[in-house]
């Protein structure tokens, strides 16, 4: 059984079906790229998985548990982490502090009042290294570059210990070198965490994607490797218009 299973998922926005009978399986440790023209329903799909939007019908199963109608924070506790297009880090806290906050496995007051933050844990060191922010640990998030902010947010999801990372256009607005570095980060995470990433940058997709699913008008148009997709005539026509 796949770690994430989506069955006949549909959401109806007042007559308009942004996602329409979608079926999707993602294996544990897999990195899936979602492609598709604007308005294809990619962001909405991520919304449905993380709980930002409730579906009209269909089912979302994660790690064997049906999470279709759970509120967002409960899904987060199941290990579903969402990275939004607009980063939501705490700007006036340092990198390290942001990451410590994200480690919220014990969120109670009493557990946290006696905890003094001395040295970062090994796990945290490893996460900072993975995203390349080890040297920025004492920098306020507001002073990070755009790329670093995005990496910090990815690191927060890792620190939160989520098993499934949902990323919506993580490289938007990044410089070429930042995009490359982001690809390298995802490469490192591949196999360790399950990742679903929406991306337009084909260079990036070529680098990271093992499997690609193309959405069109809310359902799956094509699925396969980068080669299959690039040579698929239906995909071409969907992108170029009808």
């Amino acid at each position: 059984m796949a770690q994430l299973e989506i069955r006949d998922l549909t959401v109806d926005f007042g007559g308009f079906r942004a996602v329409d009978g979608l079926n999707l399986n993602v294996e544990k440790g897999e990195l899936l790229c979602l492609l598709g023209p604007n308005g294809a329903g990619k962001s909405t799909t991520l919304d449905l998985i993380c709980g930002k939007t409730q579906p009209t019908s269909g089912k979302v199963v994660f790690d064997g548990a049906t999470i279709t109608n759970l509120p967002e924070f409960k899904r987060a506790r199941h290990g579903v982490g969402r990275k939004f297009q607009i980063p939501s880090v705490f700007k006036r806290l340092t990198v390290r502090e942001n990451l410590e906050l994200a480690r919220s496995q014990r969120p109670g007051v009493w557990a946290n009042i006696t905890r003094i933050l001395a040295k970062p844990s090994e796990a945290l060191e490893k996460i900072m290294e993975t995203v390349g922010l080890t040297d920025q640990r004492h920098v306020l998030a507001e002073n990070l570059s755009h790329g670093q902010t995005q990496w910090l947010e990815i690191a927060m999801l890792l620190s939160q210990d989520c098993k499934l990372l949902l990323m919506d256009e993580p490289t938007a607005g990044m410089t070429a070198s930042e995009t490359q570095r982001t690809a390298a980060i995802l490469e490192k995470l591949h196999g360790e965490r399950t990742i679903v990433v929406v991306e337009h940058d084909m260079q990036f997709v070529r680098k990271v994607a093992r499997r690609i699913t193309v959405l069109h008008q809310g359902s799956v148009l094509a699925e396969g490797s980068i080669k299959d997709i690039e040579s698929n005539p239906e995909v071409r026509s969907a992108y170029l218009g009808h």
């Binding site: 924070f73 006036r92 502090e97 969120p107 007051v109 006696t114 003094i116 933050l117 001395a118 040297d135």
Partner: protein
């Protein structure tokens, strides 16, 4: 030790040196002279209490004088009883004037010093807990918190003024005994008394710093910035807000108890709106992001008041108002922020002089002058 912890340590040490050594030295170790300064330290403590909730968690409590006043009255009740033993029924004099027959039940336990000391901390805290639960569970925020806390303050002060038979009304509680603890009577004009107050302030400083440096303190700083995001990370934000609100009230209560010891009376003016707003001003002047900064703000403004109110008499409140506006406009981070900028500027000049290849060491956040500046140390609160 991380650099933040080291900075905390250094700044607390510097603050300790200031109030334990420098100040007594300046006053020639004269207990009589130091009594005034002990008063400033109490006000510093209540400013620190406000900085804990306002600076750390962004909760602007305009009623901080309420827990302070409660603490002051609680201590005064004990001292009043100690001075009334020869009166009929052991009753305070003013009760007799109001034709009260017997000592009211809620005065009885204050014969015990242990009870009094606990009550001075826990009663304000419990009250803050109840009000905080109402405010924060109801997700009230921002200016409405300020309005509610101010309203509660006004109500409490009114109660104390109206219930003359039980509280001494407008006159407050006067004619108090000196505090006797473990058989030792403490003279409020003695050097030892000054050290008692200074040590109290230092203990509070250490505990409050530990709270703000704990993970709970980190959560509070996150709440100040974006409560919703903090909720998404799984934190029940209201519990953290109630916690800091209550702890802050307990500290204010402690400060109030000491204040009664310093002045030897408790008055409803301790719970006046103008006094409560003054606390906000001290905090702003010192810099609410820093606990020690806020305390120093209170000390500095009150020293100025001591000097200038003779000159300006009636106009002093206006001077204070103008000072507040000036600080908000020109020094939004207060004296603490000013100190940080100055130290930063000095450091970068230093670097320029010693060539840029000098070791950069651990990267520090901007606005913090590495580990060498004690005053910069609490800046993680920003």
């Amino acid at each position: 030790m991380t650099s933040t912890l080291r900075n905390d340590f250094l700044s607390i040490a510097a603050f300790a040196a200031l109030i334990v050594l420098a100040v007594p030295l300046f006053f020639g170790f004269d207990g009589y002279e130091l009594n005034t300064f002990a008063r400033y330290l109490c006000l510093g403590m209540v400013a620190m209490a406000l900085a804990l909730s306002w600076g750390t968690a962004g909760i602007l409590n305009l009623g901080q004088a309420a827990p302070f006043g409660l603490g002051a009255y609680i201590m005064a009740m004990h001292l009043k009883l100690m001075n009334s033993t020869s009166m009929p029924g052991g009753m305070p004099d003013f009760m007799g004037w109001m034709n009260i027959e017997t000592l009211p039940w809620f005065w009885q336990p204050f014969h015990s010093l242990g009870f009094t000391l606990l009550a001075g901390l826990l009663f304000p805290a419990a009250m803050a807990f109840a009000i905080g639960a109402f405010i924060f569970k109801g997700r009230v925020s921002g200016v409405f918190v300020a309005i509610i806390t101010l309203a509660v303050l006004v109500a409490i002060q009114l109660l104390f003024v109206e219930e003359q038979g039980y509280t001494g009304g407008q006159n407050g509680l006067t004619g108090l005994a000196l505090l006797t603890i473990f058989g030792v009577t403490i003279d409020n004009y003695s050097l030892n008394f000054y050290y008692l107050v200074a040590a109290s302030l230092l203990i509070v400083t250490v505990l409050a710093t530990m709270l703000s440096r704990s993970k709970a303190g980190l959560v509070l700083r996150a709440v100040r910035e974006d409560p919703n995001r903090a909720r998404f990370l799984g934190y029940d934000v209201s519990n953290y807000e109630i916690l800091v609100f209550s702890v802050s009230a307990a500290i204010a209560g402690f400060a109030g108890m000491l204040y009664t010891l310093v002045l030897q009376f408790a008055s409803p003016t301790y719970m006046s709106v103008s006094f409560s707003l003054s606390i906000v001003i001290w905090c702003a002047v010192g810099g609410r992001e820093s606990l020690i900064g806020a305390a120093i703000g209170a000390i500095v403004v009150n020293m100025l008041e001591g000097r200038l109110s003779d000159v300006f008499v009636e106009a002093w409140l206006m001077v204070l108002g103008v000072l507040f506006i000036a600080i908000v406009l020109f020094l939004p981070r207060g004296l603490y922020g000013l100190a940080v900028s100055v130290l930063d500027a000095m450091r970068s000049q230093d670097k320029a002089r010693h060539g840029t290849t000098a070791k950069t060491g651990e990267p520090t956040r901007p606005g913090e002058s590495a580990s060498t500046s004690p005053t910069a140390s609490l800046s993680a609160g920003e």
